[in-house]
């Protein structure tokens, strides 16, 4: 049977067909749909872990226990999981173990565009890179096989354009693996990584890498597609598709395994062509390895090191470098639209974070942010609320450090519910332990929002829909030793403002929890009830524009006195959160009627 699948759906299918028993992940674009899809297959245990390190440890435990296992994450998740990734590279496991890194060239939804092939080299484990959805499925299955054959974890590296592109995939059956669990291994020399044992494991890992490199010479996903002799292209991943399209007559060496490299194959290929060029996204990873072999090769001198490639970039770069004739240039239409209004992603109408950000902007305190929907507040909301965003869980530690440096301002950290579980908790422990007057605001919207509504330890449900214990923030935070803690409904703006004003005067740690479900959750949608501007009261002061809500528009009607546009609410998208109504100085925006809202 043939089905259109995205790369992520294909990886999930491949893992299932390969008999994966346990999979753990933390959501992150562009990887999220892998576990979401796998969770729907029968006879698979799939879970959201609080962070990527835990996810990798879980997969390792399952593979030690003799079951095929995997962990999936976005590229920066592997930074969090690196400690575990590195020890399991030494230990190997009892069954196939695949770690999936979904990289994000161009940073469509990420804070950097690190190239995680380097992690495979660093850990001396194989790195597989599919070029389309069919291969995403096939190479997931191959990864489990390689893992068991060489007793090594395997890094399956995807990129956004593999994860989120769809193509036809031939579906197969699930292989039959024994259901019973083997006895947990009593093999401390292999699995207890104290120095004496780890020292003995290291040479084995070096030998293993040599053996894998030898196998790479005949690995079916490394292949030469013979064309002319003038130009030879070495390429990998989605870049292969661009190269295939742009250089129809060139010879191509497609590397499905980008680490370790098949040296003999590369040498033979290089010797068979006059000019050798590597087409790869981001780092000159293959290019440098080929050059280290003493082979003359070009790559990043022709193609950009920054951002993702696409067929046009490859084509135009090739024309500029004389790899293609000038006639290969593709003309663009002669249109000049001039500067256009931007349409960046913003906080949605009804977002429960908006009220808190608005108040923080009024208080003019330095706010250290976090990864998630909070970044969507940046283009609007007066612009200058969040001063730093680094990575998940960073804001609390950064605020602590700024306070310890003697900053005269009172530092605030904002963090989401899921990110607080991810890496926020140790940072808050540090604030308490080392006594900094940091105000931490936990924006609890009852879900992992940015990645499209995934359950987390605070929601009371698991990835596979089971009810579970719902961790409450207030008792948790109190148990860590924070004395000043308050939970406030996220749209109670007066109470949030009063609490923050009180907390920024304290010389002790404090935590404000704002709580309200994401407006896009089904229970949130049921409460939607649009508000309206009372035209005769509005004088166009523009204060409500500053909350950055997509539902608030400039009306064509001008205020008679000031000659400035009045506000208008788009009833099609307004949810009735009342943030604008609460800040309007002229009471020109309606509040919800007091009776129960109508369903719909």
């Amino acid at each position: 049977m043939i089905k259109m699948l995205s790369g992520n759906e294909a990886v999930a299918r491949g893992a299932w067909e390969a008999g994966v028993a346990v999979a753990s992940a933390y959501p992150g674009t562009p990887s999220t749909e892998i576990l979401e899809n796998l969770a729907r297959y029968p006879n698979v245990y799939a879970e959201w872990a609080p962070n990527e390190k835990v996810a990798v440890d879980v997969a390792i435990g399952a593979a030690y226990a003799g079951k095929r296992a995997m962990a999936a994450m976005k590229h920066v998740g592997l930074n969090v999981a690196a400690d575990s990734f590195m020890y399991v590279a030494l230990t190997g496991a009892e069954a196939g173990l695949v770690i999936i890194s979904a990289d994000d060239p161009q940073m469509h939804s990420s804070q950097n565009e690190q190239d995680n092939r380097t992690f495979a080299k660093f850990a001396r484990i194989p790195c597989l890179e599919p070029s389309d959805s069919q291969e995403a499925k096939d190479m997931t299955i191959a990864a489990f096989g390689l893992s068991e054959r060489f007793d090594t974890p395997v890094l399956l590296r995807l990129t956004t354009r593999i994860c989120h592109s769809s193509g036809a995939v031939e579906l197969g059956e699930r292989i039959d693996l024994p259901a019973q669990v083997k006895k947990y291994p009593r093999n401390q020399a292999k699995y207890v990584m104290v120095p004496a044992n780890a020292l003995l494991r290291h040479p084995l890992v070096e030998q293993r890498q040599k053996a894998i490199a030898e196998m790479a010479e005949t690995f079916p996903y490394n292949r030469i597609e013979r064309g002319g002799q003038l130009l030879g292209i070495i390429t990998n991943g989605v870049a292969y598709q661009y190269a295939r399209e742009v250089f129809p007559t060139a010879s191509i060496l497609r590397l499905g395994m980008s680490w370790p490299l098949p040296e003999k194959m590369i040498r033979q290929f290089a010797a068979s062509v006059e000019r050798l060029v590597v087409v790869e996204e981001l780092d000159p990873f293959i290019e440098e390895a080929v050059r280290l072999m003493g082979i003359a090769v070009e790559g990043k001198s022709i193609f950009p090191i920054v951002g993702e490639l696409d067929p046009r970039l490859v084509r135009e770069s090739a024309v500029n470098a004389g790899l293609l004739p000038a006639s290969a240039h593709v003309p663009l239409p002669d249109v000049d639209t001039g500067p256009l209004p931007a349409r960046p992603p913003v906080l949605c109408p009804g977002c429960p974070h908006r009220s808190t950000f608005y108040i923080l902007s009024k208080l003019k305190v330095p706010v250290n942010g976090d990864i998630g929907c909070y970044g969507l507040g940046l283009p609007t909301l007066g612009g200058n609320v969040i001063l730093t965003i680094g990575c998940m869980g960073a804001g609390i530690g950064v605020a602590h450090g700024a306070a310890k440096a003697g900053s005269s301002e009172h530092h605030v950290a904002v963090v989401g519910d899921s990110t607080f579980f991810h890496t926020g908790i140790p940072a808050l422990i540090n604030v308490v332990y080392n006594r900094a007057p940091v105000v931490t605001v936990i924006l609890d919207n009852r879900i992992t929002g940015m990645t499209g509504h995934q359950e987390n330890p605070g929601t009371g449900r698991t990835l596979q829909g089971q009810e579970t214990f719902e961790i409450e923030f207030e008792p948790l935070v109190r148990a860590l030793g924070v004395k000043h803690v308050k939970t406030v409904a996220a749209f109670e703006m007066d109470e949030i403002e009063a609490t923050l004003k009180e907390y920024i005067k304290l010389d002790e740690p404090s935590v404000l929890i704002t709580r309200e479900p994401c407006a896009l959750l089904p229970e949130g949608r049921k409460k939607w009830l649009p508000l309206a501007v009372i035209g005769e009261k509005c004088n166009g002061c523009a204060l409500c524009f500053r909350v950055g809500c997509p539902a608030i528009l400039k009306s064509e009607e001008l205020d008679e006195h000031y000659q400035r546009p009045k506000a208008l609410i788009d009833a099609g998208v307004c949810t009735g959160c009342e943030v604008c109504a609460q800040i309007c100085p002229r009471d020109a925006i309606t509040f919800r009627p007091v009776q129960e809202p109508v369903e719909g």
Binding site: S109, V335, R343, A542, C549
Partner: protein, 202 residues
């Protein structure tokens, strides 16, 4: 037809751009083409720009269409129509829904939303094969603003037949079947009606 047909679909998160491209890629597959689709998920429901690439052909390598190689440009919103217009092949088939969705950036800046004449003038410089469709108005007439995307697909299916962009293997039935397979059961009839309404646009 050409060896490949490249479709670029652009719109605003929430307009059903991704659903339309899902339908389009499935139609291509059922019609016997190799078909690929690419988009970026994650930020789309939050009112940002959405761009989706769909390619049909005998043999399709890249999921992305290079700028200058878009054969069919389907814009669900006027500002977005302008934003990506410089990626079309000169002379491409262009369908623009006359819907206006104001970006939040306008309330905090002095910029204004482009006027219809500006949109039409820019499109006219890129191609003489353009259609402007009041898809939102038609959708409202059918009782559901969310079917504007399927109305656009209906118009596209007719325009592709007229312009011989396919080799005759695409019947309206293939499209209607794709709609039935993709939308929830209770919305199938409405969406099929919307598709057929789109085909009536001249």
């Amino acid at each position: 037809m050409n060896d490949t047909i490249n479709f670029l679909l652009v719109g605003v998160g929430g307009q059903g751009t991704i659903l339309a491209s899902d339908l389009l890629v499935n139609v291509g597959l059922v019609a016997g083409y190799q078909a690929k689709q690419a988009e970026v998920h994650g930020m789309s429901q939050r009112g940002g720009s959405v761009v989706s690439h769909v390619r049909w052909g005998k043999l399709v390598y890249s999921p992305l269409i290079g700028a200058g190689e878009v054969d069919v440009y389907l814009a669900f919103e006027k500002l977005e129509a302008l934003r990506h217009l410089n990626k079309v092949r000169p002379g491409a088939l262009v369908l623009v829904s006359l819907e206006t969705i104001m970006p939040v950036s306008l309330t905090t800046s002095d910029q204004s939303y482009p006027e219809d004449v500006k949109v039409r003038a820019a499109v006219a410089k890129a191609t003489s094969r353009a259609m402007y469709i009041d898809a939102a108005g038609m959708a409202a007439g059918l009782g559901n603003p969310h079917v504007a995307n399927v109305i656009m697909l209906g118009a596209l299916s007719k325009a592709m037949e007229k312009q011989s962009l396919t080799d005759g293997r695409l019947s309206p039935d293939i499209w209607l079947k794709a709609v039935a397979e993709r939308v929830p059961a209770r919305y199938i009839e409405l969406n099929q009606k919307a598709f057929l309404a789109g085909r009536e646009i001249s």
